[in-house]
Symmetry: C2
Subunit: 204 residues, 2 copies
């Protein structure tokens, strides 16, 4: 279990639900929230930046990190691997800042095991039909890939009971507002506000 003083938010969702867009928007607009950048062996998509969206590494580098126990969690999805670097996350957590992990559901479960008080958030598409439309709209998936992703999405959606919060991405604006509220509310939890409360009490 990792020691930490900041809040850890895990955002997970079936592929195509829009979590990366929302995660980037949260980190940009919410103060004191850092993005956890994962390592991956997959190729960058158009517009993705190394060190911002992912650390894009080759298989040999990934193998080496696995061998050195360098991941909090890592997982294989289709033929690619994704992992959360242990050194990076440990450093962030110890410094007390809040961090957001944009991560698929297998990885999310392992992060939850490593950090039991992580706030687990699951983003859901409004429906199968809408998810299919979004996957096709992205334009870089074959029909066969869309079919595989929908099947995998169903497999992921079954896991919703392992999460603290469920957010339906019906519109980006509403989903964003809900996610931001979860972060704001978590920061107001009594166990996070104890020092402030004691300080106020001492003023009486």
């Amino acid at each position: 279990m990792l020691r930490h003083s900041g809040n850890v938010f895990v955002l997970s969702a079936p592929s195509g639900t829009g979590k990366s867009t929302l995660a980037r928007q949260l980190v940009k607009q919410v103060g004191d929230l850092n993005f956890s950048v994962s390592f991956t062996t997959r190729q960058p998509r158009a517009g993705e930046v190394h060190g911002r969206d992912y650390f894009f590494v080759d298989d040999a580098t990934f193998d080496d990190m696995v061998a050195r126990d360098g991941f909090v969690e890592w997982v294989r999805v289709y033929e690619r691997r994704y992992g959360t670097g242990k050194a990076w996350i440990q450093e962030k957590l110890e410094s007390g800042v809040d961090i957001l992990l944009d991560i698929e559901s297998q990885g999310a479960r392992r992060v939850h095991q490593a950090i039991p008080d992580a706030v687990m958030v699951f983003l859901l598409p409004p429906s199968s039909r809408e998810l299919a439309a979004r996957l096709r709209g992205r334009g870089d998936e074959s029909e066969e890939q869309v079919r595989i992703r929908l099947e995998y999405a169903k497999h992921e959606l079954v896991q919703y009971e392992g999460y603290d919060y469920l957010v339906v991405n019906d519109t980006v604006e509403q989903a964003y507002r809900r996610l931001e509220s979860i972060i704001t509310a978590t920061r107001c939890r009594r166990e996070r506000m104890g020092a402030t409360a004691r300080q106020i009490l001492d003023s009486f």
Copy 2:
């Protein structure tokens, strides 16, 4: 324990912290949130409306409701009594709407006993000095009354550990945003979203 399907939010605070203003603003601006109107034997302040701010009743009526077990909770503060009417709240809860109780800390504890999954929110003044300034600014309190209220506020603040959320009312805007976030986040909790999640899953 009262049966219910809506969310119950309990907002409690030392007198003068600004909870009634915030509670009214929440009920006005947040959708599907009903205000729980308490009964009281105290006199209305300027601008307060019977049936909106409180049900203002005389001592005999209050005694009668106590005798008929008509309160979820009731409490004596200074020389006045305040109570949450059982019939009113039961009806709201069964209809599935969310309700907000603006209530002092003794009453809050009793509501928590009656409704264990109520979301308990405690509003704190930024400091003793600031609370004293606000109480004096209200203009209807003598210095002796201010002193008594500060003493009582300290007594109430000690209870903060019984709450789920602590919100500091440093500015009304920030406190409002935090309270609204707690309501939005609670509505996204997995145990409240199960039916929606199952419906989405069934579409796959």
